[in-house]
Amino acid sequence: MRIKLDDSLLLKVEKPAKYTGNEWNMVKKNPEEVSLRFAFCFPDDYEIGMSHLGMKIMYHVLNKREDTYCERAFAPWADMEALLRENNIPLYTLETYTPLHEFDMVGFTLQYEMSFSNILNMLDLGGIPVLSKERTGNMPFVLAGGPCACNPEPIADFIDFFVIGEGEEVTPEIIEEYKKWKGSGESRDQFLERIAVIEGVYVPKLYDVSYHEDGTIKEVKPSSPIAPAKVKRRLIRDLDAVDFPDDIIVPYVGTVHDRIMLELFRGCIRGCRFCQAGFIYRPVRERSYEKLLDLAQKSVEKTGYDEISLISLSTSDYSSLPDLCNNLIKFTESEKVSLSLPSLRVDNFSLGLMEKVSKVRKSGLTFAPEAGTQRLRDVINKGVTDEDLVSSVQLAVAGGWSSVKLYFMLGLPTEAMEDVEGIADMGINLLEACRGLPGEYSKALRITLSTSCFVPKPFTPFQWEPMDSMASLMEKQYHLKDRIKKRTRRIDYRYHDAKLSFMEAVLARGDRRIGQVLYAAWKKGCKFDGWDEFFSFDKWMEAFRECGIDPEFYANRKRKFTEVMPWDHLDMGISKDFLQHECQKAYEGDLTRNCAVGCSQCGAQAYKAGICTKAKRGASENG
């Protein structure tokens, strides 16, 4: 069935082109001629989803297969949702206007915990039963993957199977099984059993969870002999060997990241103890700069974009950065393409680089010291010193940058009020240090201090830590605001909503029992929870009360090292012993060297990939 949409509907919504597809490079296939129709769903607005690199990669990988047609769907904005519901129009894909319920597989990407309610909403809008157990016969299989799949338990009730780790290689394996299953007369459960043995596939219904009286988990155990006791995440060992899209879709409406994105590498050598991405993508694996140059040229040719952004967790750590940039700049200058370099460490080299590539006025430069005192930065293993920061900011200001943004977290483990005050003091010190510098803006330098609330995440050394209470976080925010205001007007202070972070903390480390709360909250109308204009803390709290579940048990409770975590049956390549050791080192303020300096035996070395295979200084010291 092809959905018909007419003007009476589309002309009533904001930015109707978010719902009409047909963009440049959109893949067109005859759905009759493929064995598997896949709806790739992004549980947020089109402008966010179309900025997401992972979706572009999977769209490309799936559509390269002749037997598969991958289409896209996004969470409709509230105006469009109201019209869809009013007119009984199911949520559809942009490629062929097919309702979600007609697909073989419906896959969600999990980028952010606060988009979970949108998954339920999109399933419902797409005419698919929201609960996995209510799906029967030839209804689609609903799957999910992405970073938040490393704790899939809060949405286990809604998802038939999860893909753990990187998707390029495992998804085709799943498709092959699907083709064997389709038309075989086997049941839905039999398909799930077929794929449960594939490395990287987690079928939640094949696992039983039991609990202790105090509410903690007793055991997570396979209920079927087929299901592995531990599900191992998938990892691409050689990035050059997998396809990377150069023919990405060029949207009509402006998106958040409306440009070519070149992925330099996956993983991060740094090991900041709060950062989930820094652990779950280990080891660092680079794409070669020759391959990247080739991709840059082909991408510009095929898309017509005039901007390229280099993507990674820490651009400065890319081993061939000078080679890549020098060659890229030659190309971008001649083609009138601009180059942006996010996540750069500020030093002489990078400032020189920015000077060369920057076409816009030097306005804002961003730093992320994360904590206000050296002691606390050592706790989180953020290897930045006050001196580093002062000299970086001095360099930037002398080089003509007029405003500097600094990002911090409040509520980090072991934080005292002194550490909070350190944030204000750092801002003031920087102002002082830049006074009298030659840069044209040194007198007019503006500093913005921004604090988020620390949310402990699975597979980090802080996974056992309690999140700071909302009351304490708010007290710290007010204290900081006050301290800054009393001393200077040249510092702006911004902070995140502690209530939103609290909910994120519950969902991030939730177990299967959170599923019923999510369901209840969605029933109450929760959706787009990451958006201020939609987020309703009160509705969520009502949902917790109705389900008899205490959210603080998940957010604010200190776990014992011996406690069974809801995600312990997943293996993300990092050993629990290593994480525990890192946590203990954190309390001591003990730093851990980065992977480029030497191996710290995190567990990822077992993959024998990327940086783990390279000889480095200090490797021999390691036991």
Partner: protein, 233 residues
């Protein structure tokens, strides 16, 4: 062969939900894909030298949009058409292109536009009755409607901007209106604002089914001219 061209293009149903600024980007990217020798502005943020005649609002289809483009080297109009039509999405087609060698750009030249507006009234109305309604409307000196201006929403008299208006009954309650309206940098009357005024003044509550631009005009010496005629002074 010329370093500057004026071209005419159409926009069909499938691309009519795109806002004007997005259309601009569609062209910029198509031009980049076309590998034509584009001319860029100087400065920090080089832009293609591309100017559109008149913005297109969301929902509008057209068979006569115009734009001016400059190149670094001579480009033949037929080469431009061929190479752009393979770089543009299906919903936009370049129809014609001519050399341009005046300094005044298309945006400053456009002064009027002709529209076809499909509408549906709530009840069956005869052609005669509709003609009378239109006649009464046009015989007025002033028709005030709220228009977004630089100073916010303000009542504006749009009557002087309506050059002609006619309506033809297609069936029962479905009509096709032809409107010849003032357009351009000054005194631009959009088709949707006209329909708003029409409903406000007649009380008909007619539903707009389609808005289509038939033609754009430049004017010189009190004569309406095809924008191609004024491309060379």
């Amino acid at each position: 062969m010329a370093k500057a061209l004026r071209f005419k293009f159409s926009r069909s149903e499938q691309l009519k939900y795109i806002a004007h600024l997005d259309i601009l980007r569609v062209f910029e990217r198509a031009l980049k894909r076309s590998k034509l020798p584009l001319a860029y502005t100087q400065g920090f943020n080089p832009r293609q030298k591309l100017v559109f005649g008149l913005p297109m609002s969301i929902g509008l289809t057209s068979e006569a949009e115009y734009a001016d483009i400059e190149f670094e080297q001579d480009v033949a109009p037929e080469d431009f058409i061929r190479s752009m039509n393979s770089s543009l999405p299906e919903g936009i087609r370049i129809l014609e292109a001519v050399e341009q060698n005046i300094n005044d750009n298309i945006m400053n030249q456009i002064t009027a536009a002709k529209y076809e507006i499909g509408l549906e009234t709530r009840e069956d109305i005869s052609q005669n009755e509709m003609d009378n309604i239109l006649h009464r409307l046009l015989s007025r000196d002033e028709i005030f409607v709220l228009k977004k201006t630089k100073k916010g929403m303000r009542p504006v008299n749009i009557r002087p901007w309506i050059y002609s208006l006619s309506i033809r009954k297609k069936e029962m309650n479905s009509f096709l209106m032809e409107a010849f309206l003032s357009a351009g940098a000054e005194n631009n009357l959009r088709a949707d604002l006209l329909m708003q005024a029409f409903n406000q003044e007649t009380g008909l509550e007619a539903k707009t089914l389609a808005m289509h631009r038939k033609a754009l005009y430049a004017s010189s010496f009190n004569k309406w001219q095809d924008p191609f005629e004024v491309a060379n002074g």
